[in-house]
């Protein structure tokens, strides 16, 4: 089995080096692991750090947002015949140890999409962040008919079939909810696994603000009802 770990990064020089070191290179029953950093038009040292780490680097010339970067990761995995794909945030909020629990159901064919849910074990998450995520969860449910305890998680894994079927349209942060639209539409088997998240001032500042939630909702309404 060949897996790709996609790390979308936009100006993450402070955390990227540490994040890349924290990702394990070996997993049971996995022959090849390729770490792919997608620099989304970064203008700091993100590119240099990724090059030094000796991992695969894909560079966007312009900033296209999280959705655009993840879409590129999917396209890369599709073209190069990967059996599984894992997305991992570059802001240092995920633990490297959480990768295997998320990946395991894919490797042993128990699910087609696995979401690492921060809310199943939400110690340390600020209350306002919890409220924001729950709001978006409810919204995701009403519009895309898929219940999830963490619609905004950045740690997700996808099987070969999911890689081929998921067609991302969103460019920005709303992509996190769009995954559930695709999961429902393409009838993919979803599983949730509890993960821990590290909340530092840095990752909080980098992550989504609650106010962005309204922008995300507006874009999702458009995606749901007006887009092809």
């Amino acid at each position: 089995m060949k897996i790709a770990i996609i790390v979308p990064a936009y100006n993450e020089e402070k955390t990227l080096g540490h994040v890349l070191k924290s990702i394990p290179r070996r997993f049971p029953d996995v022959e090849k692991v390729e770490i792919v950093v997608i620099s989304d038009g970064s203008f700091d040292k993100t590119v240099e750090i990724a090059k030094k780490a000796g991992i695969t680097l894909i560079e966007h010339d312009l900033n296209r947002g999280l959705g655009g970067a993840l879409g590129t990761g999917f396209e890369y995995a599709k073209k190069n015949g990967f059996d599984a794909l894992l997305t991992f945030d570059a802001d240092g909020q995920h633990h490297g140890e959480d990768i295997w629990p998320v990946l395991r159901p894919i490797v042993y064919k128990k699910a087609e999409v696995v979401i690492g849910s921060r809310l199943k074990n939400s110690i340390g998450m600020p209350w306002y962040r919890r409220v924001g995520i729950w709001g978006l969860n409810l919204f995701t449910y009403f519009f895309f008919w898929t219940w999830t305890s963490d619609s905004q998680s950045g740690l997700r894994a996808f099987s070969r079939r999911a890689i081929e079927e998921i067609n991302l349209q969103s460019n920005r942060m709303e992509v996190s909810s769009e995954f559930f639209y695709e999961i429902n539409k393409k009838n993919l088997k979803l599983k949730e696994v509890p993960i821990k998240s590290i909340y530092t001032d840095y990752s909080l500042a980098k992550g989504q603000k609650n106010i962005n939630g309204f922008v995300i909702i507006a874009r999702l309404i458009f995606r749901r009802f007006f887009s092809k």
Partner: protein, 150 residues
């Protein structure tokens, strides 16, 4: 009711007339600079001339109001204008959205052409004498990579 000057002609009517004449003159200028053809010039001339005429006919919008079930022509005009604006902003949103997607596609295609593979980068650091064919391949790859514009 209205503030009037020039023998009872409302100020708003004068402003509107000046605006319409200005827009008309723009159309004529664009016709002479060959941005508009003769048909388009006639169309815009008709539109602006009609606007000016309509401004000076009292109660001309009342029939629109009646159709819409409103009392005053002004209300009907406001309603239609807002509906028109909403539609225009929706069209604009769709258009920018499509363009955003196109840009993403372009950026993605460019990025995927110039992937810096991890394996080769790892090899580069090792001071090992490479087989000629591999060395050649790496040089070609490096040559292909576009320099990053700063």
């Amino acid at each position: 009711m209205y503030q009037t000057i020039f023998d009872g002609v409302a100020l708003i009517k004068i402003i509107f007339t000046i605006f319409a004449l200005f827009a008309w003159s723009r159309a004529i200028i664009r016709f002479y600079s060959k941005d508009l053809n003769i048909k388009e010039l006639f169309f815009w001339s008709f539109v602006w001339a009609l606007m000016i005429v309509l401004v000076y006919i009292p109660g001309k919008t009342n029939f629109v109001a009646k159709i819409l079930g409103m009392e005053r022509g002004n209300d009907a005009m406001f309603f239609l204008a807002i509906a028109g604006l909403f539609y225009a902003s929706y069209r604009l949103y769709v258009k920018t959205n499509t363009q955003e997607k196109e840009i993403t596609k372009l950026v993605r295609a460019l990025a995927l052409k110039n992937v810096a593979r991890g394996k080769i980068l790892a090899k580069k650091r090792q001071p090992v004498i490479m087989a000629k064919s591999i060395a050649k391949r790496i040089t070609i790859r490096r040559g292909k990579r576009k320099p990053r514009i700063k």
